[in-house]
Structure formats: C-alpha cells, structure tokens
Amino acid sequence: MGNLSDVRVDSKKNPVKGQIISGKFGEVFARQKSDSEFELGEILVCETLDPENNSSTSKTFFQVYDLQYGSQISQQNLEMISGMMLEENSDIEFMDKNLRNYKLALLKNLITIGRDDNVMMSKALPEIFSSVRTIKDSDLSFMKTPKNPIFLGKLRSGSKALDVDINLDGSQALTHHILISGTTGKGKSVLMSNILWDCTGKDYNGLLVLDPHNEYFLGNGKIGLRNHPSGKIVYYTAKNLIVGARSLKINIRILRPSHFGCLDFSDAQEQAMNAYYKDFGIKWLEAILLDKKTNSVFNDATIHVLKRRMMYLLDIDVGNGEVYCNGIFDFNAGEGSISNICDALESANTVIIDTSAFSGQVELLVGSLITTELFNRYKNYKMIDTLANKPVISIVLEEAPRVLGKDILEKGSNIFSTIAREGRKFKVGLIAITQLPSLIPRDILANINTKIILGTEMIQERQAIIDSASQDLSNDSRNIASLDKGECIISSNFAKFPIPVKVPFFEEFAARTLNPAAKTDNKKNTSYMGLSE
C-alpha cells in the first residue's frame, strides 16, 4: 500500500464517512465506514490535500445515487450463515465483522472546487482510497446569492438539510421557464407558495397565477398570499368577494376567435368563428348567439354546435332575442379587466386568478386572454426598445399538459406553447406545474431551462424529466423515486450542478417576513378630509 497522505483528509476536523475504492467516472464505488451511514442523495466531499502543508487544493463533490452491500464472504456462505441463525438459533459471531461485511455506495461526480472557490465541472477521478466526508456549510462558500434571488429551500444532503440557502437568479430563471414536477402530495403547492411569497413585492418580476384550487391567496392554513406584507397582490375571484378582492368580470366584446385557440374547437368551428368576426367585428359572439347569418356559407349543424358550445362555455342564456349573462363573461362589465391585470403585472404585482369555480376550458380561455394581451404588449415593448424597463413576467400554469400537452399541440400551437418557445426573448416565462411531464413534448421540455423535481414514483415520468434535464441525471432515477415530501432536485442552466434541496413549510417560510406591526403604523397619518359628524 502506498503513501496516502496526499488524499486523506484531516480526520479530526473532517470525520471520514468512507473511502473511494473503484469504479469509473460517474460510477465511483465508495465503501462506507462502519460507524457512518450513507444515504441516497447524500453529497460527499473528497478533498485533495497539498502534501507540503496539508491544505486543501481542491474538493470534488460526489452524490450517492445507489447503495448496495459488500462482503468478503461468498454469497453461498452468507446464505448458509443466515440459515444457521434463522433455523438453529446459532449465535455466530464474525471475527473483524466490520472488515468482512459493509455497505457500498455508487457515487457520481457533481463538481470540483479549486482554489479561490473556482467552480469547475469534474473531469478527473480522485486517487483510489481517497476518503470521502460529509459536506459542511463551509464547503459551499462558493455559492453566492444572485442579484434577484428566488429562494427555493435549504441545500439537502440525503435527508439532512444544511444551513445553506439555495437561490436561483429570478430574472434569468423566470424568463427561461421553470417546470415543477412531482407526484401529488410531494410538495408542489408548498414550493409554489414559497416561490410566490418570495417573488412578490420585488420590482424585477410580475407573476400571473391561474389557481384552480384557490389555495394560494387564502392559504390552506393560517397564512396565504393575502397576508403578504408588500400588499402587491391582486386577487380576482368569481366566488365570495372578500374585502380587497376583485370580482372577475370579462367583457364579451374583447373576445376574439384567436383566444379560443387553446380549446378543442374543430377546424370548421374555427373557420366559422373567423367568418363571424370578419362580418360582425366586436359583436361577432352576439351574432352567433342571436342566430345572425354570415356572408360565408357554413353547415347549419356547425353553427348550432358552435352556438351551443359558446353558451355553455361563456355561461350565457339566449331568449326573446336577448342574451343573458350568468357568469364571468358579460356585456356590461369587465371592459378593462384584462388591461388592468396586464397593468398590474407590468407594475410588478402578483395577480392571482381564482379559477376554482370554472371548468377547465373556461380557465384556459381566461388564461389565454390575459396571456395573449400581455405577450403582445411585451413584443411591442421590445419593438420600441423599452423592454429593459419592464419587469419579467412569469405565468404559473397548474396541470400544464392541459395547454402544453402533446395531444393539444398536435392540433396547433397556442399562446402558452408560443411563450414556451419564444417567451424568453420578450421577458415572459412560464412556471409549468405537473405530475405528468411525459405528456409535454420533448422540444417544449427542452426549452424549460429549470426543472424542479419532486418525488416521482412513475418511471415514465422520471424518465421524461431525466431525458430533458439541464444536467446529466441519467443515474438519478432511483434517487428521484426516493425523494420524500418537500425534497427536490433542481436541475437548471443557471445552477452549477443538480442541487438537492429541502423545501421549507410555507407557514414557517412566510412567518420569517411577516411583520404584524407594519400595517398599523400607516394608519396614524391618515386624515379623512370632508368627513363631518
């Protein structure tokens, strides 16, 4: 055995957890020290020391992606020994048992940190018998807080969270789209709530949230986005109107045939819509509902079906030559709603639309209306060279395959797929949330440059994510399957390596920034001129 002083770490300061023994790049075997415990997803550090002064010259981060047993005893003998223990109650003891039976971990290289916190992709293997140790907060001093941070959680090594905040640069990550995937119950909503809370009130971004479960504003527990201290939340609902909420009303005359592109209308129906719009302008929907004729010829059945679908979709009744509006779409209200929502987003507000009372189709129509207007505005800003003054806009889409799914996009692109492909040029991005990423086409997934992966049991879904991740996650399938509630992996073009993260509970996270005294102070200076007893 040679001199190992150049690869061993100072065991007093940095307790050894194991030792590298064999393997190849990306599949390194490490033996676990008997008094330690390797975990899936755990980050281990292998330090190279300068033999002259015993100082660290570089650190390579490894991550455990698989675990297995190792033994100096043959499998056949192990089975025999087990039989003796189970069947004959033999009290067998091994000599040097920690030497003979042990655990092995399969490690993959993450990154190498050189002197002066110089971060590099790992390109070399450490010496054989190099020690590996558990990661410490100080190993991560190279991680700097970006200019516009989005806090995602604490760095996680296995199941243990370190006191190291993980932030992405929001202005980059939001425009280049974010995917949040994971099985139900793994913490997608908590993570999204945290992101919304953290991003709200910051001037660099505006967020549009289509909330089909009405969970973000009110919150499931005591705290929701309504408690955000910035007050930069605009909340629209069609249900019970609490003080400060806006009643969601959309004027029917602002609807255009193109807004229905994300819904499954047939070609004939789409042609009929366009013909009505050409002939009747902003009153095209009234013309369909009131059985007016276009100059173009269409099958009567097509127009009847179109009328029936519009009545159902827009929640409208027709009788005695009049149109009665029952839902959010109306002739006498909501003329400025879409414009106001876009204005609020441009002023770096978070706009939450409670879509829990709507069918999926109405939700998508509302989303399409807002997004189309917003995207057109931002394209115009780019054209007139004022885009730099505008905040990044991110659109939160729950159950994203409804608009970004392969089957829907086969019928043609829609505003959401357009944003997925082109949005970054115009500072408009998506946050797509799904438990079924495999339904999203590969080219769209590839355009989403940050993926936040929560626990996913289904292999097909894991594979879709792994295949499109920003870093090589080909060995992480088991790791992803084993992610517990609130544990995730962030794979991003804006991160140095796939980062394991522990997401905090929303209430705990929000409570950090809540200051109950702040609001009452504002009242002291308010006078109410004109009010007399």
Binding site: D203, N240, L241, I242, V243, G244, A245, R246, S247, K249, N251, I254, N332, A333, G334, E335, G336, S337, S339, N340, D343, I384, D385, T386, A388, N389, T520, N522, K523, K524, N525, T526, S527, Y528, M529, G530, L531, S532, E533
Partner: protein, 410 residues
C-alpha cells in the same frame, strides 16, 4: 320609494359661450322631470358643480331649482365629487347645505382608525342614505380601505350607498388606466349603489352588490362624450316594479341639443378629398339645433391639416342651422410634414401632441424617438403624481426620485 339618481352635472364646465349654459339647462330640465314624475327624493352622486366655488350665474340657477324642489317637498341628497370638493372646506355644497337646500350624506366619524359612516334618513320614505365623497387623484380610495363595513352592513332597512369613484370591474376599456376602487370595498347588500365620476351609463348587479348604477353626465362634458353619449340623462328608480313589471329603472334622456358625429379616416387622402367626404356627410342633413362634431384621424397623402377648408365646412353647417360646430384633428398626420392644431380634445391628447411636436429636438444617444416619447410620457406621469394621504414630504420626494431613477436606469 321612488327616487332620481343623477351625477356629474358639472355646472360651469363648458367655457365656450354657446355651450356654457348647456349643463345648467340640462339640470333645470332634469329637475322639472323629477317634479313631473313625482319622485320622493333626488340623489346627486358628486360633481354638481365643475368647481368648488362656481360662477354666480350657474349657482343662481341651481339655487332657484333647489328652492322649487324644497317647496315641493322633494329632498336632495348629495356627496361632493372630485370637482366640487375642496380640501379647505370652502365648497358651495356646504353653503347650500347650510341654507337647507340639500343634504351632504358623507357624514360619520373615525373610530379606532376606521371610518364609521352615519346614515341620513329620508323622512318621507325611511330610506337610509350614506356615501363617500370623491376627491381629486382618487384620494377617496383610502377612505374605502378604512371603511367599517360591518357597521354599515348590520344596519337594517332600505339602504342606499352613494359614491363618486370608478369601480374597477365596471371601468370602460377606454378608461382602463383610470385609478379605481374594487367593488369589494363597498358595503354588501344595500338596495342601491348610486355612482358618479365615470361618465358612463351602466347599471350592473354583482352577487352581493345589486343595482350598482352610473347614470352618466346630465350633459356631455367634452367633445368625446358628445360623440359617444350624444345626450346626457339620469335614472329614476322605483322599488316597486315599473314598466309592466319588467324593471325597477326608468332611463330619462336629457336632450338639450342633437348631435351629429362625423368620423373621417384621412389615410391616403388629400385635404380636398377629406373636405369632400365631410361635405358629403353634411349635405342635405337637417342640422337645426344640432352640435356637429367633426373628427379627422390618419395620415394625409398630401398637404397638411390646415389645407382642409374647415372654415367653409363650418359656414355650410351654420347655414344649415347647426347650433355649434366642433372639430378634432389631433390625430391627423401629414406624410410631408406635420402641423399641430390643438382644439377641443382631452388633456392627454394635447400632451401627446406637444411631446410629438418637440420630439428629437435634443439629441440623446441611444434614444429612439419612440423611446423618447415613452420616457417623456412616463416622466410626466411620475412628476404629476400627487402626495398620498399620510405620506410625508421626504417620503413623497423619495418615491418620485426612485420612480424616475428606475425609469432612466440611473
């Protein structure tokens, strides 16, 4: 209970000698209809006058009408609006209230930082009326945010809430940038919400806020309103059904003068062609007692806007009996060169024209003309921002500086 709801009378708003008495005439006519229709009381939801201290002539006419109403036993309930409210308290509304000619229903007190409004009871019908005044810059928005809603909602009886503010959900598309208050800040389940300030005609029912009504102005207050509304008017509300049981509302139009809006798209046209198009629109028309509104927009193929012989067109209109002729050419551009004539359009239009006229005079590297236009408009917007209620001077200065720094990327 039968009452009239009017708003935005704007006595004294028009400066032109021919139009300056129109709003007063409209008010006199409205009062006479109210008497004829035997309303129990009248609501005026702000901006009775165009200023806090109106001219003597208009005031005299209004006082005369109020006296007639008082003699007939018809009470008048008002809230001050953004035009006739004065922070100094020197407003004619107070004088008229002191004289017993009307009642200002914006009454109440502040309890624990919350505004507790008091109801004014109409003795004849028992209706309970309250409301919030309007202020310039939508400063009344703060009042809504601190309103004690529970106190208002627990009051029993037929309740009316008067307001002089824009409601976000009912803002017209053309006024989407106007500051506004969400309907959720208003007390729920009143019988009637009597609105003013936004010059639109709309009556709308939300789930918990039925009969939210804007009657529009009694007489249109500018060129655009004359084009869009044609006539002013108000609503009469009856809590028993009228019109054969199909409605509680009766819309009363106040038709002082007819209007004839003429809109001409001058793109790819010469001044002579535009002249001819306008001429075609007026030839053979009966223009007696009519206000003719000529709006031209687009880019002329040749010449400039002053080459359109408006003088002759005006003379022809007057020869056909027109009461008054107005034109708006703010959106006319010339493909050869531009000339600006400013007349009878909104301050925003005028501002934009002035900026466009002077754009590019000072060269700034990296500024396209479009960027210069946008930045100038935004700068004007920031610099015209008023100090918020309760905002300290240094906080106000700081806010403006921050906005401008951000805009100019300093």
């Amino acid at each position: 209970m039968k009452f009239a709801h009017m708003a935005d009378v704007h006595i004294g708003s028009w400066k032109d000698p021919k139009l300056k008495d129109m709003s007063t005439e409209a008010f006199i006519k409205a009062v006479s209809i109210c008497i004829e229709k035997k309303v129990d009381f009248i609501l005026i939801a702000g901006d009775l006058f165009n200023t806090a201290l109106p001219g003597i002539d208009g005031l005299k006419s209004v006082v005369k009408e109020f006296k007639v109403l008082r003699d007939k036993g018809i009470s008048v309930y008002v809230i001050p609006g953004s035009h006739d409210y004065s922070p100094s308290g020197k407003t004619m509304i107070d004088v008229l209230e002191e004289a017993g000619l009307l009642k200002n229903v914006f009454k109440g007190k502040v309890v624990d930082g919350k505004i507790q409004l008091r109801f004014t009871k109409d003795e004849k019908t028992g209706a309970k009326i309250t409301g919030i005044l309007g202020r310039r810059g939508t400063l009344e928005k703060l009042y809504y945010q601190e309103l004690d809603l529970e106190h208002l909602e627990k009051e029993q009886g037929k309740k009316i809430f008067m307001f002089h503010t824009s409601i976000t959900e009912l803002k017209p598309g053309s006024k989407s940038v106007m500051d506004s208050t969400d309907v959720s800040y208003m007390p729920k389940n009143f019988e009637y919400y009597s609105g003013g300030h936004v010059h639109i005609v709309n009556k709308y029912s939300f789930k918990d806020h039925k009969n939210v009504v804007y009657p529009g102005p009694l007489f249109p207050a500018n060129f655009e309103e004359l084009e869009e509304l044609g006539v002013g008017g108000f609503f009469i509300y009856n809590d028993t059904l009228i019109h054969h049981g199909d409605s509680h509302f009766e819309r009363i139009d106040i038709n002082i003068k007819n209007t004839l809006p003429i809109k001409i798209d001058c793109n790819h046209k010469s001044p002579e062609e535009v002249y001819q198009m306008i001429l075609d629109k007026i030839t053979g028309k009966e223009l007696l007692n009519t206000i003719v509104l000529i709006r031209v927009a687009g880019t002329l193929k040749t010449g400039k806007v002053s080459d359109i012989n408006f003088k002759e067109l005006f003379l022809k209109c007057y020869a056909q009996g027109a009461f008054y002729v107005m034109r708006n050419t703010v959106k006319v551009l010339s493909s050869e060169y531009e000339e600006l004539r400013i007349e009878d359009y909104s301050p925003e239009d005028i501002e934009e024209s002035m900026i466009k006229e002077h754009i590019g005079q000072i060269k700034v590297s990296g500024f396209t003309s479009e960027k210069e236009l946008v930045i100038t408009k935004e700068l004007m917007h920031f610099l015209s921002s008023e100090k918020h209620e309760g905002e300290k001077v240094y906080e106000y200065d700081d806010r403006i500086k921050k906005d401008i720094d951000k805009l100019l990327e300093l």
